[in-house]
């Protein structure tokens, strides 16, 4: 076989391989995620994030569970970002609105008895839960690894109510695609229904067998175990179910330059 023949033979084979791979990928994406892409494709980096999101949702199982550890595996756990939304100005990553700090101070000083978690948007029965009401749901306890985008990780035990149970109680409408969270430190972020309904996605009110400490997000934080730590928002203030992707405005991750999907 001459060198030219060899080369052209490979180009044909490569062409066939590329076409085949593209076809399989396209079919997988289109069949499983008819409306998924893209949440945001604003620039090249975000397009890469969207591609990773699509590929992970297409290839990885939707119901796979994050590894759960044993009690002996618990590690020390830094409290980063907002440590207390009520402290006010001059601190790191505090709410941009003074009114939020004020309202957090009020509920914090009342031992969170006045805290309410409204569930709104595309639900049949919009309502607000107290902490005591959330604790009436069958709890779930899990020992998982918190993986921070910075590079560190920590293992903690979380107790809370599966988000799926709370969403079911509120009657999520069939058209719902995303669940958006707002926090007392001004943070806004959302997850898709795959993560929202995942059994390890919980509204956690307990950590390591005690009430959730304030620096770790009291009274209730989110746990999204198959994504980076920053998706597990602290200091929850409200939940909104949406049909459309919303970037959360100027406080949302997208506009501040952070990936929305962080499964990797």
């Amino acid at each position: 076989m001459s060198e030219k023949d060899e080369a052209s033979g490979f180009i044909t084979r490569r062409g066939a391989l590329i076409a085949g791979a593209a076809a399989v990928g396209g079919v997988l994406l289109a069949r499983r995620f008819p409306r998924i892409l893209p949440p945001t494709c604003g620039n090249v980096l975000r397009a890469g994030d969207s591609f990773t999101y699509g590929m992970q949702r297409a290839i990885l199982g939707e119901h796979s569970l994050a590894k759960e550890y044993r009690l002996e595996d618990l590690t020390s756990f830094p409290a980063t970002g907002t440590r207390d939304p009520g402290v006010g100005k001059g601190e790191l990553a505090q709410p941009s609105e003074p009114a939020l700090a004020e309202s957090y101070r009020r509920i914090r000083d009342g031992a969170f008895a006045d805290w309410r978690l409204p569930i709104e948007g595309r639900v049949a029965k919009p309502q607000a839960f107290t902490l005591a009401e959330l604790k009436q749901f069958p709890p779930r306890t899990q020992i998982t690894r918190h993986t921070c985008e910075e590079g560190w990780s920590a293992i903690g035990q979380w107790t809370g109510v599966p988000l799926s149970a709370v969403l079911a109680a509120a009657g999520v409408l069939p058209s719902a695609r995303f669940v958006l969270f707002r926090a007392y430190d001004g943070w806004v972020d959302s997850i898709d229904m795959v993560d929202a309904l995942h059994p390890q996605t919980i509204l956690a009110y307990g950590m390591n067998g005690r009430d959730l400490p304030i620096p770790h997000g009291a009274p209730v934080r989110l746990r999204v175990e198959r994504q980076m730590g920053y998706k597990s928002m602290k200091f929850l203030r409200s939940i909104t179910v949406t049909d459309q992707f919303e970037d959360g405005g100027k406080d949302g991750n997208i506009q501040t330059g952070w990936a929305w999907y962080t499964g990797i």
């Binding site: 490569r14 391989l17 980096l45 990773t52 020390s76 993986t147 590079g151 990780s153």
Partner: protein, 250 residues
């Protein structure tokens, strides 16, 4: 093609196949972007650990003085996180760390696709075409200290671009293609919470997420070292000629 082990590093002269040239440059750009963004990511948390998890409140195996985050010590008083006084603690970070991971991470994973997808295609074509077997894989009988030394002592300028490769070239290329790059991808995936949920065996294999991160760092350092030596050899053996061979193929 008939050169045996008696003439290591002597001739070269076959041209690079087009798919080799195309994948070479795609993967080159990807590796440069990965090294750049990877270094930025490491600067944010320049501490390395061994085991399942590790953070500023647990012991490190290595700390690198590569950003202001190095041993910043910006934590307030630790408080116990369980009933045990000697057990895990929590502490509030009071230090405003360097962190550009917003674009750094997105660039890293975007670039990683340009390593993984062309890399898989390259591996497939390398096997199907016989490129690996014929050109890259060192023969067992070549792996003698005498021949290795002879290749090491041979002047770089004596080499023509392209296959047939010298013994050290074969060893270096094979190491990068079959050991370093797959190890980097696998340890990278072991840091991913979504991937390890689907494939928990990765965590067991590498001894935990932080062990994988540490291996990832050292493997990337080896890869960067390879790139430096590779470029030096290209320059020493005739930069223009080598670049022509790897671009237009002549």
């Amino acid at each position: 093609m008939a050169e045996g082990p008696e003439e290591p590093g002597s001739s070269g002269g076959e041209s690079h196949a087009r798919w080799v040239r195309v994948s070479h440059w795609i993967i080159t750009l990807s590796v440069l972007a990965l090294a750049f963004s990877g270094f930025e990511i490491l600067m944010v948390h320049p501490r390395l650990y061994w085991g399942k998890a590790g953070n500023d409140l647990t012991p490190a195996v290595l700390e690198l003085p590569i950003s202001r985050n190095y041993k910043h010590g910006g934590y307030d008083r630790p408080v116990p996180l369980t009933g045990s006084a000697s057990g895990p603690v929590s502490a509030n970070r009071t230090y405003d760390i360097f962190n550009q991971n917003g674009w750094g991470r997105s660039l890293h994973f975007l670039a990683a696709w340009f390593l993984v997808l062309p890399g898989l295609l390259y591996l497939l074509l390398g096997v199907l075409s016989g490129h690996f077997r014929t050109h890259l894989w060192p023969r067992v009988r070549e792996l003698s200290p005498r021949l290795l030394w002879r290749d090491l002592a041979a002047p770089a300028g004596a080499r023509n671009p392209g296959p047939v490769y010298g013994l050290l070239q074969k060893c270096a290329y094979s190491f990068v293609i079959f050991v370093a790059a797959p190890l980097l991808v696998a340890t990278g995936l072991t840091m991913s919470p979504a991937v390890t949920a689907a494939v928990p065996g990765l965590l067991d294999f590498f001894g935990g997420q932080q062990s994988a991160r540490t291996i990832h760092f050292f493997a990337s350092a080896v890869l960067v070292l390879f790139v430096v030596v590779h470029v030096v050899m290209v320059v020493r053996s005739g930069f223009r000629r080598q670049m022509r061979a790897m671009t237009i193929g002549r």
